[in-house]
């Protein structure tokens, strides 16, 4: 029957154009043996599939023992970072066909502890993130703990740190950083960037404390501006920029050019009146 052939041919054309057979070489950490092993899987990839899609496919249909970490599959949770073809990337944001290679190597994210296979342990990373006090430091204790209104901030003031607040703590910068590659105590691009994010925030008063926290060999002075962190960051956070701006502040403090920063206050009470005909909201019940 002719139509069948036609459909068959068109399917072949479709296959040729939009799909590809790809070999995945996955370097896995075996926590039982305490050693590496490499598993190879061959998967037919359709256009649009990400590395994470391929991993899900492998785990569901080829090898149930493969472990990896992922959650949101849309580049927002920061759990799926791994070394893909030698570069730290998010598995869920990496289009397979865009890598333009028939063999793709996947390894766990470098410079992190290992749990199993591709899953890495972020405890040290988050320890450092906690150490730099990633929250507003303010002197108005009452307002801080029992807020009555919002803190004041203009859009221009917000722009000074907005870029840095987009970080999803995926750790790609930390894995790409050559200083982290040999020094596990180095705070890392993410923590240093976050320090600057809070200093640049007009609502924060902790500038001097924060500078003291990072003014160390394993802090700001560990950066040699290789720029790899900003190269791999999937959110355009540009940690390298934040670190150099932070270093400028550290130098300015050494030259006694920085005084204690007074943070902005709260927004003044709203003067708006309820228009006629609009009912009162129901009372709070939570």
């Amino acid at each position: 029957m002719a139509w069948r052939n036609v459909s068959h041919v068109s399917r072949v054309i479709f296959m040729k154009k939009d799909s590809k057979i790809i070999t995945f070489k996955i370097k896995r950490w075996d926590p039982g043996k305490g050693d590496w092993r490499i598993s190879t899987y061959t998967v037919t990839i359709r256009k649009g599939m990400t590395i994470l899609d391929a991993l899900v496919h492998i785990k569901e249909t080829i090898d149930h023992t493969l472990s990896y970490r992922a959650s949101c599959r849309m580049g927002i949770c920061g759990s799926c970072g791994m070394t893909i073809n030698g570069k730290p990337r998010l598995a869920c944001e990496t289009q397979i066909l865009e890598l333009k290679s028939n063999t793709i190597s996947i390894e766990p994210l470098k410079n992190f502890d290992l749990i199993k296979d591709l899953a890495t342990d972020f405890s040290l990373f988050f320890e450092k993130q906690t150490k730099i006090r990633p929250y507003l430091i303010r002197s108005d204790e009452d307002e801080y703990w029992n807020p009555s209104r919002e803190y004041k901030q203009t859009p221009t003031e917000r722009l000074l740190y907005e870029q840095f607040s987009n970080c999803i703590t995926c750790g790609l910068c930390y894995a790409a950083c050559p200083t982290n590659a040999t020094n596990i105590n180095y705070l890392g691009p993410q923590a240093l960037m976050n320090t600057y994010r809070f200093i640049a925030d007009s609502r924060d008063e902790g500038t001097l404390e924060r500078i003291e926290l990072v003014d160390a060999v394993d802090g700001i002075w560990g950066c040699h501006l290789s720029g790899a962190c900003s190269d791999v960051c999937p959110k355009g956070v540009d940690p390298a920029l934040a670190i150099q701006l932070l270093r400028g502040l550290v130098a300015a403090k050494a030259l006694r050019r920085i005084k204690h920063k007074k943070a902005t206050g709260v927004v003044p009470p709203s003067e708006a009146k309820r228009r006629k005909g609009i009912p009162e909201p129901p009372p709070f019940n939570v």
């Binding site: 470098k110 749990i115 040290l124 050559p178 590659a181 355009g236 540009d238």
Partner: protein
């Protein structure tokens, strides 16, 4: 902390390989590597230089002997490399000093996809080109001097 002992951190550190082994990153990453290599090279040369000139302490005869050893094209070639390294290291060092204190590196912006880190924007890249142009001029002058010494040019 206890957990860290259970897992084996060192198995997954990029190590020294992380400084130079990976060839997939940005231009500045290579400059970082060359800066480090030339820095270490210059320190090694400084040691060599001290050893060579210290022979002067042992009298004129020792100095003449050392001079006869170092007066060969290979040593001159080495010197040319040292000068090249110094030119690169010095000029790139000036670039690093500027950028690392937040000068000429740019300002935070709203990240709009496709993201472009400030290091890849115009001013920092122009700085690289400027430094390398100056470096080339310096190196050509040094090369000219060496060719004169070797008698290739007259």
């Amino acid at each position: 902390m206890a957990d860290r002992k259970r897992y084996r951190f060192k198995d997954n550190l990029w190590g020294i390989w992380g400084w130079y082994g990976n060839l997939k990153f940005n231009l500045e990453r290579y400059l970082y590597l060359i800066h480090r290599l030339t820095g270490v090279g210059l320190v090694l040369f400084l040691l060599l230089h001290i050893i060579v000139t210290s022979s002067r302490m042992y009298g004129e005869a020792a100095w003449i002997e050392t001079e006869s050893i170092i007066q060969n094209p290979l040593y001159d070639l080495g010197m040319l490399l040292v000068i090249g390294a110094l030119i690169f290291h010095g000029l790139n060092g000036i670039r690093l000093i500027l950028l690392e204190y937040g000068l000429l590196i740019g300002k935070p912006t709203q990240p709009i996809y496709p993201y472009k880190p400030t290091l890849k924007r115009r001013t920092p890249r122009l700085l690289i080109i400027l430094m390398m142009l100056i470096g080339t001029v310096f190196f050509l002058i040094a090369l000219y001097e060496f060719l004169l010494v070797w008698g290739v040019l007259s």
